[in-house]
């Protein structure tokens, strides 16, 4: 800026004009145009002429526009020169002043730029208004800077480079949109929301209780029932009931194992209320049966039906009187055959609890969940605490603002008094000191919160 000012002063006596030879394009250079204008007989234009005419008119227009720009530039330098001549000294002052002003302007814009940056980055808890404003100022200022720079640094390759990127980059806007909510002040709704989440976490504790197996299996069996009845409604009731306990589906997984057990203990009136050994034995036999008929679904179903029916008939015909008796007898028989150790049965009973892989998995998952939820809870609590703190801080900040205005008012009063060359009254002095003290107290309060 300064350099330019000097230059102007140095070249004061020289003529700044370039004495450009302003020329308008000769119509002779536009053959189509001149031929059209020379048509005397037919005052009209043919469609064939349009294309050429368009190009000629376009080049004429561009030349006129560039001439106008040149003229305006020359006009400006002429006016400046003229002024320089007549108001020699004044201009110097002026040009310097203008230089200063623009310098200041630059500085202030850059300052603002920095400020707004810093507010945005360093104050995530800053007020919404503030951040919104600063964003606006960033954008508008940066634009201002650009437009200011363009005429000055027309020959600056960098400026041209920035000009030559025609693709508008709206990423910054997207970024600020994304960041905006994080800079917003904490509202009571936010705290409410956090508290709600915290409550939900507490409720979650109930879900961690492992329900008793009986209850759980009861429901799962019901589910099984409904599923099966859906898939095959033609099956007879007895077959269905039978399947509950004896079907290969149920004996397939360890989870289903318990289902058998619970069934036994649940109801004696049920037709499949046989002991565990009985069931296991029967199911083994049935599986053998089934494996033969595997391959076709219809065959499978048919086989099942037959085998189930025949089995139940067989068992019935054996007439064991009561299932407990049957169980005991079976155990005895098996022990005698050497197929079953006396301890085995007990182990088998106890095994259910230990070998329950689902239970183990559940407990494992629960432990993981507990850890996670504990972490979550801690984080939420921390957030809540911070939010509450921030709310109080915000309150104090509003108070601080009020105090600031009070101080300013007191200052203005005293200033006006001084301007009127009278000593400020006691009241005014007292008000000023009070306002200052109040403000300091608030500042201390805010510091303590931090």
């Amino acid at each position: 800026m300064k350099g330019k000012g000097k230059k102007e002063r140095d070249s004061e006596d020289e003529c700044p004009l370039l004495f450009i030879d302003f020329k308008s394009i000769d119509f002779k250079d536009c053959p189509r145009l001149s031929s059209i204008l020379n048509r005397k007989d037919e005052k009209n234009i043919g469609l064939k002429d349009l294309d050429c005419l368009q190009l000629e008119l376009e080049s004429l227009l561009t030349s006129v526009i560039s001439r106008k720009n040149q003229l305006e530039n020359e006009m400006e330098s002429l006016v400046n020169w003229h002024d320089a001549k007549t108001k020699d000294k004044k201009l110097n002052v002026k040009s310097e002043a203008s230089g200063k002003r623009s310098n200041q302007l630059d500085a202030s814009t850059s300052k603002k730029f920095k400020e707004s940056h810093s507010t945005n980055h360093s104050a995530p808890h800053g007020s919404n208004n503030n951040s919104g404003k600063s964003q606006g100022s960033i954008r508008s200022k940066s634009k201002d800077v650009k437009t200011q720079d363009v005429p000055d640094s027309f020959n600056d390759p960098l400026a041209i480079a920035s000009n030559s990127t025609p693709i508008r980059n709206d990423l910054p806007e997207k970024f600020w949109k994304f960041v905006e909510p994080y800079c917003a002040p904490v509202k009571p709704e936010d705290i409410k929301y956090l508290e709600e989440i915290l409550k939900q976490c507490e409720v979650d504790d109930d879900l961690l209780k492992i329900p008793t197996i009986g209850k759980n299996n009861h429901t799962s069996c019901k589910l099984d029932d409904s599923w099966e009845s859906k898939t095959d409604s033609s099956k007879s009731n007895t077959a269905l009931e039978k399947k509950k306990g004896l079907s290969p589906y149920n004996s397939a997984t360890p989870g289903e194992k318990c289902s058998k057990k619970t069934k036994d203990s649940r109801n004696d009136s049920d037709k499949c209320c046989f002991g565990i050994l009985t069931q296991r034995l029967v199911s083994c036999l049935i599986e053998e049966n089934l494996s033969r008929g595997e391959g076709l679904d219809t065959d499978l179903e048919l086989n099942e039906k037959i085998s189930n029916a025949s089995n139940i008939n067989l068992l019935k015909s054996l007439n064991f009187g009561n299932t407990n008796g049957l169980e005991k007898r079976l155990k005895k028989e098996l022990e005698e055959q050497g197929l079953l150790d006396p301890e085995d049965g007990e182990i088998a009973d106890g095994l259910d609890e230990e070998s329950d892989e689902i239970l183990a998995e559940m407990i494992k998952c629960q432990n993981e969940l507990k850890i996670i939820s504990a972490k979550n809870q801690a984080t939420i609590k921390y957030l809540l605490e911070m939010a509450k703190k921030d709310v109080t801080k915000q309150e104090w900040e509003t108070k601080l603002k009020a105090a600031d205005t009070e101080v300013m008012e007191a200052y203005k009063k005293i200033l006006s008094a001084k301007q009127k060359k009278r000593i400020p009254t006691k009241k005014e002095k007292e008000a000023a000191t009070k306002a200052l003290k109040d403000r300091e107290a608030i500042l201390k309060e805010i510091d303590s919160i931090k």
């Binding site: 003529c15 009209n44 190009l55 227009l61 006129v64 526009i65 106008k68 003229l71 006009m75």
Partner: protein, 295 residues
């Protein structure tokens, strides 16, 4: 005009065009007048410049030059106005011709008449040449979208009848960027219906908008809007001369003036270095290369 009269349908559109042409003529006469008027001022300026160079400090000259400049600027303004008006008039006439029902032999193009291939190519060349030139009125300001290399705005929807480059699946599952014309746009599905400009391909295509690139609606003037041109070395899609397909190419030389064309090197495996010799392609048929598969 003679031709127009010969074809002489009494349709109203013919008459409108005729009237418009008459208006255009008077506008051009006005241009001529304005030009002559401004010439007077300019020659005065020239004379004053000459005198002034001998004794530049004379305040009289300065004052005189000031008024002369002022007058000349005003002349420019009125000249600009009339010239813009006449150009607008030309574009109006052009759109009228385009919309006009077929029959009269003055074809730009439409689907109904079958144009021979050579004529089609000539027509494409012509329409590229007469694409309106973007003329900036002031030094600052951005080049508008769809002028030269400036792409359309992200949510831009092409108008019916606008020319586009469209990525179309060929019969052998290969994909080609073809020159096409917008038939309609469905804003619900975000899909264009387009017609191949080559009439031998009768099929109508429905394509999502990312497979459609609108062609520029204005030429950029290299003298004033250099930044709205693809620079040397840029990878672009360009219409291969005498075809209606866009292929990848590299800019060898951007146009030097408003009437000039790009010199581009097409990717071509039949040449030893992988590129064809420089071919000229008008601004209208040079667009951003968009690789969909990479996304």
């Amino acid at each position: 005009m003679q031709r127009l009269m010969d074809n002489g349908d009494n349709s109203s559109s013919e008459e409108i065009i005729y009237d418009k042409l008459r208006d255009l003529y008077s506008l051009i006469e006005q241009c001529h007048e304005e030009r002559n008027k401004s010439e007077g001022n300019l020659s005065n300026i020239r004379k004053t410049h000459e005198k002034m160079q001998n004794e530049p400090q004379k305040p009289y000259f300065k004052q005189k030059l000031r008024t002369l400049y002022k007058g000349a600027i005003q002349d420019c303004d009125s000249e600009i106005e009339v010239l813009s008006k006449s150009l607008d008039q030309i574009f109006e006439i052009r759109t009228l011709i385009k919309k006009r029902p077929r029959k009269s032999g003055l074809s730009l193009f439409t689907k109904e008449t079958s144009i021979r291939r050579g004529a089609l190519m000539k027509m494409l060349q012509q329409s590229a040449l007469t694409l309106p030139l973007f003329i900036r009125r002031n030094k600052e300001g951005k080049t508008p979208p769809l002028c030269g290399s400036v792409p359309a705005e992200p949510n831009y929807v092409g108008k019916v009848g606008d020319m586009v480059a469209a990525l179309v699946k060929g019969p052998d599952e290969d994909e080609n960027w073809i020159l096409a014309e917008i038939v309609s746009y469905n804003s619900n599905t975000n899909k264009y219906e387009i017609d191949d400009i080559d009439e031998e391909q009768k099929e109508r295509h429905t394509l999502s908008r990312r497979r459609v690139i609108p062609l520029p609606l204005m030429r950029a003037n290299p003298e004033t809007d250099h930044e709205a041109l693809f620079e040397k070395g840029t990878l672009i899609l360009a219409l291969y001369p005498q075809t209606t397909c866009f292929y990848r190419a590299i800019v060898q030389e951007p146009p030097k003036n408003a009437q000039d064309e790009y010199q581009v090197l097409f990717e071509d495996s039949s040449y030893p270095d992988g590129y064809s010799p420089a071919l000229s392609v008008p601004q209208r048929y040079v667009i951003v290369s968009k690789d969909l598969r990479r996304k």
